[in-house]
Assembly symmetry: C2
Homo-oligomer: 366 residues x 2
């Protein structure tokens, strides 16, 4: 979706899509101004060479490949807007990105991504920020068996999300909690009762937002999902300790990725994305709560999932800021920095709205 | 336990134990009158040759190897008392066993096994049998995470039990229901509330018991177990359709056997076995219900699991009937036939009681 959207922009000459999987490239074959190139992007040296000469890179890789692709872009001297759920901290690349005279926007999807942009907006609008609560779910429009879920992204990174410890801020202190913990019940109009639990989605916000008392990200799922996923986790199906079966040594996590891919990729299942970003803080005129709500559906006309819409369009909006030359910073610039700038924030929001991704804002004084 | 118990009997000269796994044989190394022999018993021809010349074989193999070992014993001209949960119907071997002048006692563990013997006793005592309900559970003495269970036998055959459709009799007609279906709540004094569900444990009883209106076997587990196991099943972890991971093609079921073995074999967990056999029928003096109840604990003194006690001692009791020459039938003789004979039934029950496995009988007229 990133490639198609960028290729349709009048200011763009050509988009080249690189993938290891021929079948993915074939889907883009006959689209004007899209070229395709088969390559194993896990080879950082080759990837960096391939990036050279391009104006901009948009990264949409699994978490295990994300950090490497940022490094490759820096080495190639090309700016990158990325959306990988990499375990590494992208901010450590700040100095080398500055030295290479490039801009790296990490975590630029829906959440992390749009969520950071909205937090940035709050940081700019409030005098003091006390609490930040992010809740996000990419869900089928109704619960699908066997897990009440259907995947619209990467099963490997879904498992990663369910095992990576979540870093949150409690009572002003950063702390780490187990993934899938902190289970709560949440009522979402239009979807009914959902459950939410901690995931490690704050990421750069843990470094860029200071002085906050409470800060957390929770993921939304249909009720019962967490209990079922815990069965898989607790039985060892997400473990990395290899098991030998039929003479083959395989990591349970790799194996479960394949087994779950069969049941979680469900053709013809339409998705919905919910994002709530709530920021509580002080303004000269009193205690203020800002709540942003996104509720986005599968695009029937284009056959594009809501997950793709909300992540890709956010990524493209950031790409456009760079391509149009309005973003001139160098180094690693997390999306909350875009949100803190009036002009950039409004540009991103109006581009999202143009594509039908609407974010409602509610402000209240208390 | 079968080998040790037989080797300790004064009438037995020697027991030879055959296994593919050296570590299993090593455990028996220094026990008087036990010889060990490493062999792949999956090779039916070799197994049959190895059996020749012995007085009797006791079979304790996984379900996939059970039927082959019965055939091997018949070919070798040696009687066999077996306890494999084989998918095949052992009764089809009746004529060839008769022709070879041997006796084959299939399904001779606790349930199937002791359960069949008790049903046979009821068949002999009642004029007409109307209902047979068997409930059995081999459980840890308290629920163990992650599944509220700990395995004392074969994880491969545990999965088999959870996927093999269960044949039961309803309204006088044999019917097949899904494994794990028919969930009920049962109160077992000493263990509290358990759940029970259909498993395919009737087996030879479906052929040997006629004219019965209701007949079923249910397996007992701690509450919540079935729901968790269904998550694994519904996600495809028990499927036989190979998945490719790390370049290896492996059946999810084989793989899950290894993963679950890690979490279900729990050292230092003591087990308990519960068996209820309820038979309702007519006697000259009215409608009668006979209920047999077994409640057996881990043997702390000998370090022998209750699962081993109840299965092995039943098997050994049948072996002794053959070795002592009191069983002279030829062909396939399912354990319910032993139960129908007064002398054989009392011999089995007194041998079990000698070893501390007590079955209580409650008779009521209604």
């Amino acid at each position: 979706v990133v490639a198609k959207t960028l290729a349709a922009a009048p200011s763009v000459d050509q988009v080249t899509v690189v993938d290891i999987d021929d079948s993915k490239l074939t889907q883009l074959k006959d689209i004007p101004r899209i070229a395709t190139f088969k390559m194993d992007v896990g080879d950082g040296g080759r990837l960096s060479k391939a990036m050279r000469g391009f104006d901009l890179v948009s990264g949409a890789l699994p978490s295990s490949l994300g950090f490497r692709s940022l490094s490759a872009a820096i080495k190639a001297g090309v700016s990158i807007v990325d959306m990988s759920f990499m375990p590494e901290n992208p901010l450590v690349l700040h100095k080398s990105a500055e030295a290479a005279n490039v801009m790296v926007v990490p975590d630029c999807g829906v959440a992390p991504g749009l969520s950071n942009i909205l937090v940035g907006r709050a940081l700019a609008q409030l005098d003091k920020v006390e609490e930040i609560h992010i809740a996000v779910g990419g869900l089928p429009q109704s619960p699908q068996p066997p897990l009440g879920y259907a995947v619209t992204w990467s099963v490997r990174d879904l498992i990663e999300e369910y095992i990576r410890p979540a870093r949150i801020v409690r009572n002003g202190k950063q702390t780490t909690v187990d993934a899938l913990s902190g289970l709560r019940s949440v009522d979402i109009p239009g979807l009914g009762r959902l459950e939410s639990f901690y995931t490690d989605g704050l990421r750069t916000l843990l470094d860029t937002v200071t002085g906050v008392k409470e800060m957390d990200e929770q993921t939304l799922r249909y009720p019962g999902h967490v209990e079922k996923v815990k069965v898989l986790r607790d039985c060892g199906f997400f473990s990395d300790e290899p098991v030998v079966a039929n003479g083959c040594s395989v990591s349970p996590r790799d194996f479960s990725t394949e087994v779950l891919s069969r049941c979680l990729f469900q053709k013809d299942v339409r998705d919905v994305t919910v994002l709530h970003v709530e920021v509580v803080g002080q303004k000269r005129d009193g205690r203020t709560t800002i709540l942003w709500q996104l509720f986005d559906y599968y695009d029937e006309a284009k056959g594009v999932s809501s997950m793709a819409r909300t992540t890709a369009y956010t990524n493209v909006a950031a790409c456009n800021l760079l391509l149009q030359g309005s973003l001139k910073e160098r180094g690693v610039v997390p999306p909350e920095k875009l949100g803190m700038n009036d002009e950039h924030f409004l540009a991103v929001m109006s581009e999202l709205e143009e594509r039908g991704v609407k974010v409602e804002e509610h402000k209240s004084r208390n």
